[in-house]
Symmetry: C2
Subunit: 199 residues, 2 copies
């Protein structure tokens, strides 16, 4: 609008690109940053860089971590014979909140979705196969969201894994169909885990 303050405009643009942030919110956030104490703003900027630089996928389960092998995969008290396959790191957190699951995880980082051009090759399926071929795994729990993509991915994986001699199970439909795992409450999620059935 005639007189623009470039550093402010650019910051507003960055906030606007974040998911769920509109034009008005982006402005409010940018002005908030201007009024932050200098150290707070510096720390905020550093945290963005740190998160982007230091966090990567665990060499085993592909969950996000800031160490080579994530704390869950390194934990010797956890049952390495059961692998719970999920779509995203947020889903791992949801299961950890139940405090009832003692196996390990495998994070696919997505679901098969032909509509969005995402095929099996874009997911971390090869890494899952490698873990099972290495032996010591007796059960794989398909814990993808109960949506079309989640079901399709679970079916695809179960066909791929069964020939390898592992038991493949699916979360029980305690979770509401069409819903989102990340928002399920602890009890529902635990029931779904208990009532899992062979596919």
């Amino acid at each position: 609008m005639g007189y623009q303050i470039l550093p402010l405009t650019r910051l507003i643009e960055h906030f606007e690109r974040l998911p769920g942030i509109g034009k008005k919110s982006a402005q409010r956030l940018a002005y908030h940053v201007l009024n932050m104490p200098r150290e707070k703003a510096e720390d905020f900027a550093r945290c963005i860089l740190d998160a982007r630089e230091k966090i990567h996928r665990c060499a085993v389960c592909q969950n996000l971590t800031d160490v080579e092998k994530c704390p869950i995969c390194s934990d010797e008290t956890r049952d390495g014979t059961t692998i719970c396959v999920v779509e995203s790191p947020q889903d791992v957190q949801a299961f950890e909140r139940t405090r009832e699951y003692n196996g390990v995880y495998h994070v696919l980082h997505g679901l098969i979705s032909p509509m969005n051009g995402i095929g099996p090759d874009q997911l971390y399926i090869k890494e899952l196969l490698k873990r099972i071929q290495a032996g010591g795994v007796s059960e794989v729990i398909m814990a993808t969201n109960p949506t079309v993509e989640g079901e399709a991915t679970a079916m695809y994986l179960s066909r791929l894994l069964k020939p390898l001699g592992v038991r493949v199970t699916r979360l029980a439909y305690g979770i509401p169909v069409g819903g989102n795992l990340e928002y399920a409450d602890e009890v529902t999620l635990y029931r779904a885990l208990e009532g899992r059935s062979e596919i």
Copy 2:
């Protein structure tokens, strides 16, 4: 929850402290940052620092700018005899959007609010007095929000300025009482500017 990724947790905390961002949104934003291309994340961090470092108050009108004297104060085509007094830089932008006001501004950076412990000394009132004492100003338009604090600030300032021999006016009540200047549409704002009256 047992296994935390420190850089991620800290980034989530930063987002949570922003206005209007809840726990769930903060998580979503942080995960979004993790998935950003590296250059995007670096640019985002740099923009936060840049905005905080390069933007300061204009030496004359106290509006935010990245140069010594803001483009509005430096613009010789603008009418320096009329000063529009506003609460915040966002209000200046709202007036500029009308494209009808050709005077200059003075940004108070707040309103008198005894409830929140904000007195006249915490606002940029001394700087306004200095501009008027320097001469060449014939009218001061009180364009604070039509709220209790906005009215109180306008009254306080008008009593302070009238003895200096300037005409002090107030925006017409074309703007809805109790509303917020920043969200007024251009036409309403222009009507309010046209119908201003002496106080």
